[in-house]
Symmetry: C2
Subunit: 445 residues, 2 copies
């Protein structure tokens, strides 16, 4: 179907109309969720536009407003909740060509939205700095997509989450008003578009804080007992003197899904997948000893450049590997309360047995180390999935539901008036990623 | 008095016998405590020996053992609990000439015990690294003295305390057996001599972990209300996205004692003295706004190289400045429990009024941000001081008593069997810093 926007676009723009390509670029990794798959699998854009500059983004915005064409921004399409699925067709704005790192200074960088996280690090590491936190899709994900649709990841054990003050310094946003313009948001104003799925502005450029680029060793430690491994993870998380970037704990049989790592993952053992600063390996080894763990795998930062990155078996890559073996598996996203005794984690681990397989990720929540979980779920029905979610919630665990494409129904649970108001200001026609922001959909009801 | 050791020493050694110099080098800053002053003011060594190499230290150790001469190690004498006061005369071993930084790699350095903290940083910063934590005597204190007698300080808001696993990598120790030798302690074994006042080995060399050398801005924020300032400090401490090195909160009239900073410290205001990574200043400013603070002073890292360092008004330098104005002032060292409502802090603040002036330092305790305090106390009698201490303890605050020179009676409160056993092994004649380790003194009773 030809889009009414095409005649309005300048000829310099890269436009993709090939149906196969458009279909491919209309997808993300929502297929991790059987619920989302049923809801989203037939959604497709009319056309994909791939601007190379912010000026071109502005041209596209003008054409969309003029033709009242929906516009859905896409980074690398590595999201899992259908964040970039075009529910009402229109255009996909693929920002992968806006990929420059414009400057780096101590602890800070300015990057274009389509820059890949790994590509940014390659540049900033020359000066001793790196991105503070990244999803397991680090190699392919873009910084704009991560800010638009992510929440934290590898590195969050030190720096908390993207929503925390200080983890995003500034953004430039192209608006969709009658006269589209470029706005700069700084300070707390960045929260207007942070984790808003691109529903209220097109992020084109960002200033992001950086952390020190320690040489990170990759380590696997195995334990006979899951709870012992979990306690080890907690203690490591709270060990202020040991520098770490990743604490990922996998109860058996989760490690059985990691084909490339099998020789390091003995059967029936819980595996801790870890990134530890090389300079902390010696005290780290004492902690392993104190908890009776066995180091089965250890690579220096230099050696880790080759072969499978350990991080690519953690966070939601765990789910990816598991689903490569068994497509009936889906997942949860759970935040357990601060409790070094891990009582609720243990309860859920025992309560659900083989139906919900425990996979913990430790990270900081407003200064405290908390266990989060991306449990694998043996999926039967949507009703049962919701029952599992409700059980967690009634017992005091917080579920960031990954089985909804509605912004507020995932982790936030409430309407963010500031983000809705900002959408009213910069996207009065509701053209940006329509159908995702409940606060906007319900504003007149 | 001539020491029996002198004829046993090789002629290459620097030996100080001038009584004025020996008296001066027999002192530290115990005079912060009227209790310690009464107990320690007449203690003096017979002679000071200043070796230049570890080999010379070994020669001195041999001579001390042969002549059964007590040996008390001295760094820069910046301690406050009489750690390096020679209770039984003998020799002071002044390690200030063992001051080389031997190597630096990412996150790690090897230094000699007498190296000054600031001098180490000058070298490591060339590679982007710095010492993780330091006392307010950073410019003059030695690393050996800090490990031997310190516990944490500026930087502890990120890395916790020196006693935490990972904050000391390895030490070399000269022993005082019949045949003195050099031992290397690594891993958890470093705890055998960590914070032991030099009672069980002469630390000659250390491997210490380093942190990233952010450019640190120095900032003063003032508040109308002490509790509001304290809450601001807590929130800043727990703000994982904002990089900081120092959160020091001073209720009025404490700021009135900081002569050099008066123009930035309005009367009757509580002052927060802070070190913030320059790259975090923008989000930090939003936090200040949210708490209604006023920034009265802000220096970039570059500008902060000139003039009074803000850190030199915090931790126990606060007490120093206060005592410069009023020698009746002494201090406490208090650890309050984890409680973001700061109930016990508020109770003590109101309960003691002008008798105990509140000075908070936030730092990490096993992963959690806690408020510590080095309150200024208007001293009347030792009995009243002990009453104040007991009141804190009965209400649930932990006091690391700075009015005792006994190792275990300060912060530890219990005998460390490992350290006592190690003393038995390496100092069988009890010659090292005699009279300080209760566990040794009471071992046969």
């Amino acid at each position: 179907m030809a889009s009414p926007i095409l005649p309005l676009l300048p000829s310099n723009l890269e436009v993709i109309q090939d149906p196969n390509q458009v279909a491919k670029l209309s997808k993300d990794y929502y297929h991790f969720s059987p619920v989302l798959t049923a809801q989203l699998q037939d959604k497709v854009a009319d056309v994909v536009i791939r601007p190379a500059t912010e000026a071109e983004v502005l041209q596209v915005a003008k054409a969309c407003v003029a033709s009242k064409t929906p516009l859905t921004v896409r980074g690398a399409g590595t999201g899992n909740y259908g964040q970039c699925i075009p529910l009402e067709g229109g255009i996909i704005l693929d920002l992968s060509k806006l990929n420059r790192t414009k400057w780096v200074k101590p602890g800070l960088a300015c990057v274009e939205a389509g820059a890949k996280l790994a590509a940014i690090d390659k540049i900033t590491r020359e000066q001793g700095w790196e991105i503070r936190m990244a999803p397991s899709t680090y190699r392919t994900a873009t910084i704009g997509g991560f800010i638009g649709g992510g929440s934290g990841g590898i590195g969050s054990i030190t720096y908390g989450q993207l929503a925390d003050r200080g983890n995003l310094t500034a953004v430039r946003v192209v608006t969709m008003e009658d006269e589209p313009q470029i706005l700069e948001l700084r300070g707390d104003d960045v929260q207007k578009v942070n984790h808003a799925y691109g529903t209220n502005g097109i992020i084109t450029e960002l200033e992001i804080p950086l952390g020190p680029a320690y040489p990170w060793a990759e380590v696997i430690v195995t334990f006979d007992d899951f709870m012992q491994a979990a306690r080890f993870g907690y203690t490591l998380g709270e060990a202020d003197g040991i520098i770490k970037k990743l604490i990922s704990i996998h109860a058996w049989p989760v490690p059985s899904y990691f084909a490339a790592l099998q020789e390091f993952l003995p059967p029936n053992q819980t595996a801790a997948l870890l990134m530890i600063a090389e300079s902390s390996l010696e005290p780290f080894g004492e902690l392993v000893k104190a908890y009776g763990g066995t180091v089965t795998y250890q690579k220096t930062a230099e050696a880790a450049k080759k072969g499978a990155a350990l991080a690519e078996f953690t966070w939601n890559h765990t789910t990816l590997h598991a689903r490569n073996v068994d497509t009936n598996l889906t997942y949860l996203q759970t935040l357990f309360p601060y409790d070094t005794d891990l009582k609720l984690v243990e309860h859920m681990y025992r309560h659900f047995g083989d139906e919900v397989l425990m996979h913990l990720e430790f990270f900081r929540v407003h200064g405290q180390v908390c266990p989060a979980a991306l449990q694998l779920v043996r999926y039967t029905t949507e009703a049962r999935l919701n029952e599992i979610i409700r059980y967690h919630e009634t017992q005091g665990a917080f579920i960031a539901n990954p089985h909804t494409y509605i912004l507020e129904d995932g982790g936030r649970k409430e309407i963010n008036d500031t983000q809705v108001a900002f959408k009213g200001q910069v996207d009065p026609y509701g053209l940006l990623n329509p159908g995702k922001m409940r606060g906007w959909l319900e504003r007149n009801t």
